[in-house]
Symmetry: C2
Subunit: 347 residues, 2 copies
Amino acid sequence: MALDNRKKEVLQAIVDDYVATCEPVGSKALIDRHDFMVSSATLRNDMAELERMGYLEQPHTSAGRIPSDKGYREYVNSLMKVDRLSDAEGKEIKEKLSVSFDEIAELLKAASTALADQTGYISLAMTPKLTSSYLTQLKMLMIEPGKVLVVVVLSAGVVKNRMVRIPDFLTQEQIAQISNAVEQGLSGLPLSEISLITVATAAKDNQKVELPEALLNQVLYEAYTAIKQADNLDVYMQGKHRMLSLPEFSDTKRAQGLFDTLSHDGLVAGYVDEVTKQDEKKEYMIRIGQEITLEGLDDCSFITTTYNVGGKVAGNIGVIGPKRMEYSKVISQINFVRMMLDEKLKQ
Amino acid sequence: MALDNRKKEVLQAIVDDYVATCEPVGSKALIDRHDFMVSSATLRNDMAELERMGYLEQPHTSAGRIPSDKGYREYVNSLMKVDRLSDAEGKEIKEKLSVSFDEIAELLKAASTALADQTGYISLAMTPKLTSSYLTQLKMLMIEPGKVLVVVVLSAGVVKNRMVRIPDFLTQEQIAQISNAVEQGLSGLPLSEISLITVATAAKDNQKVELPEALLNQVLYEAYTAIKQADNLDVYMQGKHRMLSLPEFSDTKRAQGLFDTLSHDGLVAGYVDEVTKQDEKKEYMIRIGQEITLEGLDDCSFITTTYNVGGKVAGNIGVIGPKRMEYSKVISQINFVRMMLDEKLKQ
DNA sequence: GTTTAGCACTCTACCTTTCTGAGTGCTAAA
DNA sequence: TTTAGCACTCAGAAAGGTAGAGTGCTAAAC
């Protein structure tokens, strides 16, 4: 059975009010704050009906109603009006993102800060995913005999480096030649197709100097792990402890559960990935309360979207807030940040 | 007026009990848990006296006593017995620190993790201070025309890199020559003595290629900022949200105040620096409650110590916990970690 | 059929009161 | 100087009482 128009309005009004106050909403309060052209008794009937249908719940008999996960879901799917960002706010975000950046990491940090400040919730920005990047450069720089800095540059503007050890009688020339050979053989190859074997083949096909097999393999192995390590997603998260001021987290147990999960970047990154796959075609992905399969986030909602680098789907940005979140506002804020990122990363 | 022996014992016992239970300690409980050879009435008199002298306070008339900041101070200065770490625990820490590390950052991260896990409080590990390091290498690596990765290597094993932009018609050879010249001129120089002028002088003295002055200056400026940026202390902090499970932070307001301050790495680093200077000769530095001049840490205590690189004072590690901290245990843990670091960084 | 007024009912939040017991300080004797 | 004893204090738990926000249901009105 579908919701009739008035029930929709009622649900929408209840979500709006609850978001604003974090207090259960009663029929009287609803009449007071909105111009329903009916009496409170009618709303009471509607609310009872909405509860029966699972859109609302009652903390206890003599309290008002609060939205259930299903209620929020209906709200974000079809009830809320997505409002445009105010010009002032747009300008503010723009300013925060007008950093000059040489590495994508800097831009993402700025984006994460802007999102956290603007929404007041927890923000998230992740470096581009490996599936969408390929190797463009590999450099090996001898820092001191036996110690080499491997610099990996990926297509999406990601630069990673890692210090490795090699036999200390190798010269800068020798390792430069090896890295050149590997670079030549692998550049343009998606990260997912790079393996120890492809690295070795590349080196042998393009290399000019002669080196004992075992020695060469050791260097190649280090190069390979450095490349593989570059595909680790970096996660920039900000504003975590702002959640402590929300009434839903006044219980430190809950807050701790949330923080425990959030402190595992990998968990969060993996979840975002999963969600992105599920909702592939959507402009933004929303997960509400129990829909989130991460522990400790049952009272939260999660909104993410993807940004593009050079026109291709790259990484994710997002916001984690209470279920009682200002959805439409947050969505427009995320969208705006996404657009800004896309533009800056068009190249 | 000095404390007589029994009063010392009483104070010590009260601190021990309060640390263990977080409940005000009364005269009866004290008799029950310790073998004082006197009656509770006698202890009551002593406790009243200790309160008059400022070592104890009473939350309210009919409650037991808790240590004041002054009481804790007396405790750590002369009452507590610093116990040796158990072999088992030593082994555990050793294992956590037995990472192979190529950059000091990795080792410090491991140290911070070990400290947090072992103490159950907040741990801190900071990269070596600039005053104790000098430049050993400067490399510039062209990533693509106009984009150069500047790698700065400092004496203490710190490696930092930064992407910068330069005019895009400069070749790898040209910038390599410039960086070589600067490296030659500056290597061995303490970071504090490096300025834009010394950089320029170094370049001009050692450089062979001819470049227009303005162009050269632009590159030098980027090199200079990269070097200067390398002296930023990195702070590794772990276990923050464990504080939420302590009764003293069950009030989210307090927890938020603490987290707000701790989220500013610079503040904390600056404070550690200050404390280190004040207590220059000491093996470890302790600050208790109000003694800490950082906002939001009035209910905390702060224990730091310094580790050495190549036998010279370098950076700091430390622990932030509640005032009601197991001081002697934490001190021996920190000491052990410090010793391990010193050994690994002897080189 | 839908809406509404009216009413009895429910239940939390809050306040007040009472009670308990841990802990105190003081006094007077040992 | 120490101790037993006692009156006193006060936070916190327990119990009782009230207010009011909110409900569901019924029967009348539209």
